[in-house]
């Protein structure tokens, strides 16, 4: 077996031919090129009009949400007030009925004494 065949440009023996076969180039991973091209382009910046559109949409959305929350608070307060009035009205009616009953009882007891 010849040694130091690597000095010659052509493969010297079976072993070197086997080396050339074993060290053939391997295919690169399919995703390698895509990743290189993506990195080359760098992070994508939005055009200015899109930035303003996004900002406007965010403000509008915030306003709608805040309005919704405010409406809910007002609506709850209105319901509470309505319920309070109904309770007061019921108490007033009950008080009036009790007063009437009391007056009748008093008149009835006076008639019994007479």
């Amino acid at each position: 077996m010849r040694e130091f065949d690597a000095m010659n440009f052509e493969p010297g023996d079976e072993f070197e031919r086997e080396l050339q076969q074993a060290f053939a180039r391997r295919p690169a991973p399919p995703s390698l090129k895509r990743r290189i091209m993506e990195k080359r382009r760098g992070p994508q910046l939005l055009p200015p009009f899109l930035t303003w559109q996004r900002l406007a949409a965010s403000i509008a959305l915030t306003a709608v949400l805040a309005g919704g929350v405010q409406w809910r608070i007002v609506e709850e307060r209105r319901r509470e007030e309505s319920a309070r009035r109904q309770v007061l009205m019921a108490l007033r009616i009950t008080g009036h009925a009790l007063n009437q009953m009391n007056a009748r009882l008093a008149a009835h007891s006076r008639g019994a004494q007479d």
């Binding site: 040694e3 130091f4 440009f9 050339q20 074993a22 180039r25 991973p29 990195k39």
Partner: protein, 183 residues
């Protein structure tokens, strides 16, 4: 200085990605690291495209920078305290089990690739450029920016070491085959 050569970067990637990836893979023995190196090398090529004079210059530049980045990566690993040789042998041994990595390769070719990983870095670099890229010792010396005598020495020693390791492993392989066939 601007040159007349106006390359298409995408075509350069198409043409050379296999070469760059294979060089990095054989130098580091780590597929993930080889992909990272290949990405960095091509992005660096993109930044330096104005200085490249021709297609042949691009190929030379890519080989040179890939070998240099692979050596840097190996050095960084050594600094981090990883026993590279043990790790590389482990990686290659583990990959021997993964058929996808060695698809279409004969058992001797697989063994030779594994044995290559056990050679010292300088010998491995010279042999990879010699047998993967078909470079002459002069071209290898230019690529590695090393004296020609040093490159010749690495080629001689590397080939001798690889040959002796291959003979030992081949005998074991033949013995194993005979044993398996006998059974």
């Amino acid at each position: 200085m601007a040159y007349d050569w106006h390359p298409d970067f995408e075509k350069l990637v198409d043409e050379h990605q296999s070469m760059v990836f294979s060089l990095a893979l054989r130098m580091t023995g780590d597929r993930g690291l080889a992909e990272e190196i290949a990405q960095d090398v091509f992005l660096e090529l993109d930044r330096n495209l104005g200085r490249i004079e021709s297609g042949e210059h691009a190929r030379f530049w890519l080989r040179r920078v890939t070998m240099s980045r692979s050596a840097d990566a190996l050095r960084r690993r050594k600094v981090r305290g990883i026993d590279l040789w043990v790790e590389m042998e482990d990686v290659h041994a583990a990959r021997a089990e993964e058929q996808s990595n060695y698809r279409g390769m004969g058992p001797l070719s697989i063994r030779l690739e594994q044995l290559l990983a056990t050679l010292p870095e300088a010998q491995r670099a010279a042999l990879v450029l010699r047998y993967q890229e078909d470079l002459t010792p002069e071209e290898i010396a230019a690529t590695l920016d090393a004296p020609l005598a040093t490159v010749k020495s690495h080629l001689q020693r590397g080939l001798k070491l690889l040959r002796s390791k291959a003979e030992t492993h081949l005998k074991e392989y033949v013995r194993e085959r005979k044993f398996v066939e006998g059974v």
